[in-house]
Structures are given as structure tokens and as C-alpha cells.
Symmetry: C2
Subunit: 434 residues, 2 copies
Amino acid sequence: MKEKVTLGLIGFGVVGSGTVELLRRHRRDIEDRVGARVELKWICSHSKKESPLIDRTVRQTRNWKTVVSDPEVDCVIELMGGTEPARTVVLTAIRNGKHVVTANKAILSKNWDEIFGLADERHCLVYFEAAVGGGVPVVQALNEGLAGNEITKIVGILNGTTNFILTRMHESGLSFGEALKEAQKAGFAEANPAFDVKGIDAAQKISILGSLAIGQWIPPEQVYCEGISKLRQTDIRLIQDRLHSTIKLLGIAEKIGNAWAFRVHPTLVARTHPFANVRNEYNAIALHGNAAGEVLLYGKGAGRLPTSSAVISDIIFLCRQIANGTAGQLPYVSRLARKRVRIAEMSQIRSRYYLRVTTLDRPGVLANITSILGQHRVSIASVHQDTFEENRSKKSVPIILQTHMTREADMQASVEEINRMKTIRASSVLLRME
Amino acid sequence: MKEKVTLGLIGFGVVGSGTVELLRRHRRDIEDRVGARVELKWICSHSKKESPLIDRTVRQTRNWKTVVSDPEVDCVIELMGGTEPARTVVLTAIRNGKHVVTANKAILSKNWDEIFGLADERHCLVYFEAAVGGGVPVVQALNEGLAGNEITKIVGILNGTTNFILTRMHESGLSFGEALKEAQKAGFAEANPAFDVKGIDAAQKISILGSLAIGQWIPPEQVYCEGISKLRQTDIRLIQDRLHSTIKLLGIAEKIGNAWAFRVHPTLVARTHPFANVRNEYNAIALHGNAAGEVLLYGKGAGRLPTSSAVISDIIFLCRQIANGTAGQLPYVSRLARKRVRIAEMSQIRSRYYLRVTTLDRPGVLANITSILGQHRVSIASVHQDTFEENRSKKSVPIILQTHMTREADMQASVEEINRMKTIRASSVLLRME
């Protein structure tokens, strides 16, 4: 047993300072669980900080190379965020034989094979609980708690910003633009919200969870991605009132035959499903195992202390293995899929669908629409047409259709054909259902 | 590194056979994660079994002593259930230096200090993910995922039987008796349902989770316990329709000042809370950490494969440590509370309350009731009186009150006094709210 494990922390922003705070506050508990002293030797940040969190035992530097090349450092905690120099920091640390804890979803999703390949080679561990789901211990649940399962599906509300916006649109009738402004005011959305509202953040996270479950890297570019900025109050209201459902931005990784499909898009969720009550900035992830069934985890997906809590959990596991000399004997992340997994085209997925068609109020229109759907083998579960007084105008009337399980390709072909009908007054709205 | 870890399984019922099935089906994945071969040497059960799950490498015995005294066995998997001989089996195994995996909530909640005290003494590990929440990895989340947190509260739907019954009472308007019969028919309730419906099962589970979180044994006798058999459709309907809430049997462990309160009772949960959508036989547990905030886990709380999935997860962790020679260096369960924890009396807890009073329909009655509440410092949040046509009769009328946060003692004193009023026609119904 080593008596002391030495940490070097790089990046002293929101999560960095939260991590140092928890390290200090829970020092005795952490060291009890590690079975050795845990010493923070370095804090690396842009400028020297004065903080009651930083005592005289901690050294400060502006040069990350000092930290990753210090032979005394056992474990590097990368909390800079962004892609570079974070990627280089992590790779250099591993090359120098350091174990790593990181909260950086961007570099993991984009450099999965590079990072974990090097980690395998150097017998280093890279832990990353905080990279997905903030304070929710989903990486651990997936990689360890459900280890005796074949995972067949992962579905998650992975982005707090968009979930906040959608909650406001549902509960207060705000438009997307109004809800976005409120999210920015509340500090839940960046000045440039594209990364969140386009679904890119969720795509990176489902890429990480899926890669972990499958044992093979699925880069975020392979994730079909649709954001929430085009959602309209008309649909929000109809979905709420008529279909007793709510719209969530879901990240989905799903086994389809021998392939997997990865996708992020707004999705209808029934009000009785646990996801429906995941409100505001909260995250939730459902893991489907062939033995455990559906296991769902819920909690704060972001924020200073929730994210730091996940970093601390990683530090404890890692330091325990460093202390007892077993760190790196086995890889934390398997990259050995039993069979090479193929990624399914979006057109191959199957789902139920919500379709809103805006049409002239003329006899025969519904017959035309249902006949087009029938020709494409789309089976209709329900039609709502007559009672939307508020959405009715002299010129056009909305028709709401729900389908049974249908192939995406058939659905898309139907909608294309419907949109070409002369009686159609506006582009149809198509949403998937879970 | 050991090349092989040897298991002895005792108890080959529903969970035992599920565990062997998963061990066989996922053998390669399990051994990859353990880093050594994992060999099941013994199956101990009442009678010799013929099963395609049992191949020629496995030996069978009716005598558990054979298994726990075999020097080759590294880890004993106790899946007999019940209190004896299970307790003796586990203690003897530990005394012989074996690590243990168990799914037995009864012996853990009743013999916590005896089992984990001996385990500490012999440097053995006892893992028990399956004892609480079936396939939901809540023990791991509490003990490891949230290790960097002080846990201040645990709230759980911990019993699938009662949750199934309550779901049926809410969704189909069944009486308690009718719903119980349906649960028995569906295989979710025993012929003698007392253990479940009186809340004893939930009390054992919250005792385990609380003991783990605090680092001190809280025996189930210290858990205040109220079952669901007295719940009436009248309240179910009023709570649903007027208060937009649902009743769940919750197990709660909560820090109050320097003490902790442990309790199990039917509780009102708002329809917007994630717990409200935990239906039928599902379980859910919310863990409140001072850093992570509220983390909620949801899944199947019982059943052959979900429970076996949790056993397999324990086997993997344990065998990995056995293989690399670190098992037992650190205890899995801490029994070292920082300060000796005092258990609060039920009268000291604070809650919001639902109170249904059945009274003669006479002027001044409401004034009398509110005045009694006021004298006991109970602050009223809402009153519903006038519109319950269906519950109204010539003789009596129900009044529904909701309170703000109130001390249990004040609430109980109020109800006692209200029940003594001459205008009261039936004993008042008091329920707590979360």
C-alpha cells in the first residue's frame, strides 16, 4: 500500500474550485475510503488565485506541463473543458504514466479511441463520471452496476438547457425564443445557445454512453441530430391537451438487429412515463439491460457542486486503486466489442410518429392523407381533426395523426408525398414518440 | 494476480438459478471485467437439481457446511433468504475467511453489526446490492457514486407489492382488498401479505440504506411504520382529483438537526414529482447529497433476472478484488459514524399534512376546527369543503385540509382534539405529504 496519493488539478474554474472545496470539506471521509492520504499538490490555472480553498500545501502554476511532468503526481484532474489544450493535456499525462479524471465530454466523444487506446497501452485509467449527467452516477451504473447485462438501449434527457426551455414552453406557453431568453437570464443557457439547442451537447453525451455500452467508439458525427428551435406552441399545446404527452429532447442509442442507431431529437413522451416529470434543468437516463430491465437515473445534470461530486467519486475510486497498486491492471473502458457494430441509417429506425398536417377544410382531404400513409405501410393509431377551434381558420385546419410503429423511411416518404398535395397549406410537422 | 476465483452458491431458488443463468450467459464479459477466470464450484440446495444451467464442472450438495468450509472457495453467494440458517451461513463463511455476496435484507437489517463487525475483523467483504431495490444499483450509488457527499435524506418507494396495490387503487378505483387480490393473482403479493402491506419489508430496506449512509446501524425496530391496509377510496379519489397528488408508501430516512428520523408510511406525492410516475411493481429511491443534490434511481425492485443482475454486479466487483489481492483491505461498509447518531422520535419530525375530517354539516364547525389547529400552531395551506357532492350525505360532510410544515406532535394533538368534537361523525384521516 502507498501511504499517499498525489493529485494535480488543471483548470480552476467553476468545477475546479467546487472539486477543491469538496476535497477539503470531506477530506477524512475521502481518505478513509481511499485507504491512504490524498494530497492535492498542484492547481494549474490562467492566473494565480487567492482563495480560502487554497492553503499553503498547494502549489500554483500557469503551466500545465509542470503538473503532468511532476514525477510525484499520480493522478491528473483535467477540468479545463474545451478541446485544446485539454486533449493534449490528457494525452501527455497518460504518456507520462498518470491516471486521469476528466469532466470533458468534448474530448472524450471526439478522441475516444486515441485517449483510451493510449490509456490501455500505458496501463492508465481515465475516469469521467462528470462528463455525462453531472451529479448522476450514470457512467458507473452503466459500466459497473449493470455489468452483468447486455445493454440494448439507452435513452436520456441529457441536456439541462433544452429541458429547461421545453419545460417553460409547456408550462407557461412561451415560444421557443421567449423560453430561450428566460434560460439565458436564469444562467441555464449560453449567449450562443447553438451547442445546446441544436442537440450537439446531447449528441456528444449519447456518443459517450453508447461507446461505453457497446465497447466500440461511436463518434458524435454518427449521431443523427435534430434540435428544438423549430418547435411551435401549436404542437406543444396539441400534444399536451389531446395526446396527454410532453416533448423532451432525447438522446437515444438503440440496438436494431445487429446494428445500433444513435439519434438526438425532440420526442413525445406520455405523461405517465417517469421522463415526463423530469423538469427544468434536470437530467435523466434510462438504461435497458437484458437482465435488469429498465433502470432510470435522475438528478442535476450540471452545476458546480453536482459536477464536482462526480469528480470526487472518480477521485476516490482511482486513488484507492493507486494506493493498493492495482490501478491500470484492467482497463476501465472496454474497446473490445464482441462483434464489430454497424451504425444503422436513420431511415432504418422504427418509431411511432406524431404528424400534424395543415390542410384546406375540404371533403376528401383526410381520405387522401390516410391513403398515402396506407400506401407506405404506415398504420394509423389515432386521428384528431374536428375540434381544434382555436387553430382553425377559414383557410386551413390542422389534422393530427398518431401512427403505430413505422419505419422512418416509410414515414418520411409519406410526409414528402403529403406535402406535395394541393390542399396542403403549410409544411407538415413530424415528431417521433417514445 | 490469481488466475481463478472460485464461487460457492447457497440457495438455488428463483434468484439462485437466475444468477447461474447470467453467470453462464455473460461468462466472457464477466471474466474480462474480473481479470481472472470465475469458476462456480458448488451449488447447495435442498435437493439435487437437474438443470441445463448446471454443467459437469459444478458440484452439488445439500450441506451448506461443505461449501463454506471448502478451502478452495473464495466467495460464498448466499441466496437462501430468510433469517436462519442464512445468518449462520454468512457468519460461518466470514469466519472461514470467505467473502460474501448476499441478497438477504432480513439478516442484514437485523444483524448488521454482527455481520459487518465480523467482516471487519476477518478482513472480508460482504456485498449486498440485491438486498435493496432489486436490479436498481442503489447501494453502489449511495456507497460509492455519492461518496463525496454528506447524505442528508433518503426517500424511497421500496416495496413493489404495495406500489402495485396503490397503483391499482388509484388507476382503477379498486378498494385495498380488491387490489390486494389482484396483486396476489399477478404474483406480486404473497398469500400472507402482512410483511409487505404493513411496511415491514420497506422498513428493513430503509434500515439498510440509512445504516449505510450514516455509518451506524439503525435496526428496523427504530423505524416508525404504518402500512397501507387502512387506505380508503374516498381519500384516494379526493387526493387525486382535488390535490393532484398520488399516494405512495415511502420509506424515509432524514437528518433532523443532529438526529435522524426513520419512517415508513403512506405519503401524498404531487403529480409533478418523478415518484408519481413510479407505477406498479417498480421501485424508486431518491438520495439527497449535500453536493449532488437529489439523485433518483428507478427500476424493477424485484424479479428473477433484475435481482440476479445485482448479484452479478457484486460478484464482478468482489472477484476483481479477490483476483488482484486487495479484497478486504478496506471495509465495504463503514460503521464509523463521525458522531454517534441519535434517532429522533416520530413526534419530532416535521411534515406537511393531509387531514380529512368527517363532520355534521353545521355552521361554525370549520371555525372550530381551524381554531383547534391554530391553538396547536398548525398553519393551514388550503381547505376544500363545499363541492364533494359524491361524498356528501345528509348526516355528514367531509372537510379536507392541507397544512404547511408542522411538527408531528402538534398535528397529532390537534387531531386528537378534533376527534373529540361533538360534531365529528368519524375518525379523522391523517396522511403526511412529501
